[in-house]
């Protein structure tokens, strides 16, 4: 029987210090942190649905809550993170969904460009239909 090897196993230390090693890693983390803002904003909207279901007074209270300075600051941050998520997502789309025409691939710029165009039209349409203008 082989002698038991008594050696202290190497445990690789796990830290989050790597984020600061390269600007690219920081940008990656900023992109990933967009989930906190998108998630929090969505939960805020679920709260809004609750207030809407309760009646006009509860809805008015919700609109009042939205006007709190903390809410305003949160909305600006959430908008910035949401836009950053969109930009990174559409820039990645040609990598995730390459389109082949015959032998050649459709250029990356054409695929992400089409997504940016649809995004712009859709956003304007929603603003128009919601009566924001």
């Amino acid at each position: 029987m082989a002698e038991e090897v008594k050696r202290k196993p190497y445990v690789r230390p796990v830290t989050s210090e790597w984020i600061f090693r390269h600007p690219r890693y920081i940008r990656y983390m900023v992109r990933e942190f967009s989930c906190l803002f998108i998630g929090a904003w969505t939960l805020l909207m679920v709260w809004g649905l609750k207030q809407l279901a309760q009646g006009p007074q509860a809805w008015a209270a919700f609109l009042e809550l939205l006007q709190h300075p903390v809410s305003i600051a949160f909305h600006f941050a959430a908008l910035a993170f949401a836009v950053y998520h969109s930009v990174t997502w559409f820039n990645l789309t040609p990598k995730a969904l390459p389109v082949q025409r015959g032998e050649a691939f459709v250029p990356d710029g054409a695929i992400s460009g089409a997504h940016f165009a649809v995004w712009a039209v859709l956003s304007l349409a929603v603003l128009f239909l919601a009566g924001a203008f």
Binding site: I38, M45, V46, L49, K50, L52, L79, W119
Partner: protein
């Protein structure tokens, strides 16, 4: 053949990522306008209540909430791992349960409108 549940969690993540990329900025802009005291017409109680009362809109809202929360949850799970939290099973259970709870609450409230 190895069985993996990856497609089940990844499918809604990709769908939600695409949906939030197209829709979330403009929707945040709408509530930002409301936060600044310039609520768009749609956010008036009567109009929004009538709008959200349609079954098709309810379905769309429930779907949007679920996909947004799920993709955020999945990304949060990966981020926790990146930041050195290696209890992935626990993290996954917590974030996905949170996404499902939020979606369930949205369905409940939509049913009352």
């Amino acid at each position: 053949m190895a069985v993996s549940n990856k497609p089940i969690v990844w499918g809604p993540f990709a769908a939600g990522g695409t949906l939030t990329a197209f829709l979330t900025p403009v929707l945040v802009l709408l509530t930002l306008l409301a936060a600044l005291g310039h609520a768009p017409d749609l956010l008036a109680y009567d109009r929004l209540h009538a709008f959200a009362g349609h079954w098709l809109v309810k379905l769309a809202l429930a779907g949007t909430v679920f996909l947004s929360l799920w993709s955020a949850a999945h990304r949060l799970r990966i981020t926790c791992y990146d930041l050195g939290i290696r209890a992935d099973t626990w993290v996954a259970a917590i974030v996905y349960a949170g996404a499902l709870a939020g979606s369930g609450a949205a369905v409940l409230y939509l049913a009352r409108i």
